[in-house]
């Protein structure tokens, strides 16, 4: 692919670690504010202590921290991490089609995975990052985040997406409270993924598309290449053809959206030049 527009690698710049920290803290802060509304989010009332928040009418008085009240003369409730929120799983598609870009789709997928892991460990939980090529990494503490970054940087968009690779992670999925499926969903159907949305498990499906897939550029002609099947197609990107493509893409995405909605899962389609913070903030702080 020496003369093909292709971006198979993942590279994090020097500021990425700071971005992760800032993102994790901001998500947690937003959750804390939302906890005031009494809505369950990342933390719950039982189990390991997570943090305090001001008491609001309607709170269970059993959660009041009387010692703190005695010292500060203000009422705070103890917020504990929910056991079911401790294990998150991020599945990343690393097939060759994820090299489409720029930026490469795998790049944003890796950033999303890193962001999820950062939020998970910031909330005293743990995250498991699983690549479609079978490699995986488990992190439980913030200090392990550099390992996640290194792991993600080692991923390369190559090979063919095995449609049934997700169920193979059944044991890892068993105790996962949240599952993030990140890929371009190329060659997949909703049925392949939505079987993961079982019980109270939260499932997010993130379709990442290259900008040129989202909005074909205004160029006369282009040779599209499927890096997995090596098929090519020479296309004249005239407005009519582009409109037909966009309509077909929209239809496919709508199918995913409806299927996900039926299973209580979240579906998001984003271009690969999006900021992972925006995407994750929107789905994690709801």
């Amino acid at each position: 692919m020496s003369d093909t527009v292709f971006f198979p690698n993942v590279r994090f710049d020097a500021r990425f670690a700071a971005r992760l920290d800032h993102f994790a803290l901001s998500v947690r802060a937003m959750h804390e504010r939302r906890e005031g509304g009494g809505r369950a989010g990342l933390a719950g009332s039982a189990g390991e202590f997570a943090f305090h928040r001001p008491y609001r009418p309607g709170d269970d008085v059993r959660r009041l921290d009387w010692n703190l009240y005695a010292r500060l003369d203000q009422a705070y409730v103890r917020v504990a991490r929910r056991e079911s929120a401790e294990h998150w799983l991020v599945w990343i598609d690393t097939s060759a089609s994820m090299g489409a870009g720029p930026p490469g789709k795998l790049q944003l997928a890796a950033e999303i995975a890193a962001g999820v892991a950062a939020v998970a460990v910031a909330s005293k939980g743990e995250a498991r990052v699983v690549a479609s090529n079978g490699r995986e990494l488990r992190v439980q503490a913030r200090r392990e985040l550099p390992r996640v970054v290194s792991f993600l940087e080692s991923l390369v968009a190559e090979g063919v997406d095995e449609a049934r690779v997700l169920p193979a992670h059944g044991p890892a999925l068993a105790d996962a409270a949240r599952v993030f499926v990140v890929g371009d969903l190329s060659g997949r159907t909703p049925r392949d993924v939505l079987s993961l949305a079982r019980g109270r498990r939260w499932l997010g499906v993130f379709q990442i598309l290259a900008p040129c897939e989202f909005e074909p550029p205004a160029i006369d002609r282009v040779r599209w290449l499927d890096p997995e099947s090596r098929r090519t197609l020479d296309v004249e990107c005239d407005p009519a053809t582009t409109a037909r493509y966009l309509a077909r893409l929209s239809s496919a995405q709508e199918e995913w959206r409806k299927a996900c909605a039926r299973h209580g899962a979240v579906f998001r389609a984003v271009p690969s030049d999006s900021a992972f913070e925006t995407l994750l903030t929107e789905v994690l702080v709801r």
């Binding site: 598309l209 160029i219 040779r223 599209w224 197609l233 296309v235």
Partner: protein, 439 residues
């Protein structure tokens, strides 16, 4: 000016090999045409495109598009750079200058020194060295040897090799005072009778040389470095010959004049070797009777044809004519007479004698072995002074000076075009920016 400079397309190229770099833009354009203009882009939604877009071609042939603006700009930039590299400058820089080399072919230039070297050879070598180092290939180098009955000329960086041999008829030195011009180089020997002001000079060294300084009859006078020795019978009498029968009044006077000059006069001689003067009849032609004269004398007679004004040794000067028809012509060493018969001249007899004696004296060659005493005793070091450049060299210098400026402007234009090409390329590649195959 570099000898490698070349005039091409009306422009002088200081480094013509740089023009080879013009192949670069051609290669770039050719490569651009050879590779497809369409980008090949990896996507994961090919299946959707296959559903909605009719394929243009599924063959393996790569589509080719027109050459894009960035490449054209780049090619022009490379062309400008190549032209700048070749060092263009106004063609005036290559306009030919004319250098004149005035060569003294008088006998003194052919007298070998103690080392056996001829002054003309020594001076010519010095001149040739200077010419090789300082004169452009485009320049014209004109060698001239005035002083004979006919000016000899030649062109080239070297003096004609046959000029190293003494001319058959001894020549007088050039009138150097009339040759004192810029772009002129004298080839002579030291010491100089006239010092050049704008001309250059290559003057061979000269050293005192022993030998004859005069011959009178059969008596030779030699200078031995200290004094003059009289050697009776040391020389054969110099010869004056008439190769054909001369009119009686002329023949009688020549005999008288030769006797007075201690010369041997031979009538009907078959060989001109060693003769200091040859008198001959003009080739036969229409016969007519004339009455002509000069210097106070007149004579009636019959002429056949006319005296020639040039022969193998050069031009002859008309001394006497009748109605524009040369009757007597002369040059050093020879006199040609059209008269086949001449009556006794009228007027003062002395006028005829003085008139003809002056003619014979002027045509008489010096004795070949005789060198004037002043020349025998002269000693002078060699001298070399380069000539000033010919007048139009200023324009040429200005043209040469303009070369770097032209190259600088061309380079600047090439840089600007390259930047424009880069910008154009950047804009073109924006749909798939971040460079192809980048990571």
């Amino acid at each position: 000016m570099s000898a490698l400079a070349l005039v091409f397309l009306g422009i002088e190229w200081a480094r013509p090999l740089g023009l080879v770099a013009l192949l670069l833009p051609a290669i770039v354009l050719w490569l651009a045409r050879a590779r497809p203009l369409w980008p090949t882009v990896a996507i994961g939604t090919l299946a959707l495109w296959e559903e909605v877009a009719p394929p243009i071609s599924r063959s393996g042939a790569r589509p080719r598009g027109p050459v894009d603006l960035a490449l054209v700009l780049l090619a022009i930039a490379l062309a400008f750079g190549a032209i700048a590299l070749a060092g263009p400058r106004p063609a005036h820089a290559a306009s030919a200058l004319t250098w004149r080399i005035v060569v003294d072919r008088s006998p003194t230039m052919y007298r070998a020194n103690a080392a056996g070297e001829l002054p003309i050879a020594t001076a010519a070598r010095a001149a040739e060295r200077w010419l090789a180092e300082n004169v452009s290939r485009a320049d014209r180098v004109l060698w001239q040897a005035p002083g004979g009955s006919r000016d000899e000329r030649s062109e080239g960086l070297s003096m004609p090799s046959d000029w190293l041999r003494a001319p058959h008829i001894p020549r007088s030195p050039p009138r150097f005072a009339e040759e004192d011009r810029a772009g002129t180089l004298w080839i002579t020997r030291a010491p100089l009778a006239v010092s050049p002001r704008t001309a250059g000079v290559c003057a061979a060294a000269i050293q005192p040389s022993h030998g004859p300084i005069a011959v009178v009859g059969t008596t030779r006078f030699d200078w031995n470095g200290e004094r003059i020795l009289e050697i009776a019978g040391g020389a054969r009498p110099a010869r004056v010959i008439a190769t054909s029968e001369l009119p009686a009044p002329i023949d009688a006077f020549v005999a008288t004049w030769a006797e007075a000059r201690s010369l041997a006069y031979e009538r009907g001689a078959s060989s001109e070797d060693g003769a200091l003067l040859t008198l001959r009849r003009a080739p036969d032609g229409p016969e007519r009777t004339i009455d002509t004269g000069r210097d106070g004398w007149r004579a009636q007679g019959v002429v056949r044809g006319s005296a020639r004004v040039s022969d193998d040794d050069g031009d002859l000067e008309t001394w006497l004519d009748q109605g524009g028809v040369p009757i007597v012509t002369h040059a050093p060493g020879r006199i040609e007479i059209a008269w086949s018969d001449m009556q006794r001249p009228s007027g003062d007899p002395a006028a005829f004698a003085v008139s003809w004696a002056a003619l014979l004296d002027s045509a008489l060659l010096p004795h070949p072995a005789v060198v004037p005493p002043a020349e025998r005793m002269a000693r002078a070091a060699e001298r070399f002074e380069p000539p000033r450049a010919p007048p139009d060299s200023e324009a040429r210098t200005a043209a040469v000076d303009a070369g770097p400026k032209i190259a600088a402007w061309l380079s600047l234009a090439a840089l600007a075009l390259a930047l424009a090409a880069w910008r154009a390329k950047s804009r073109q590649s924006s749909p798939f920016a971040a460079s192809s195959s980048a990571n």
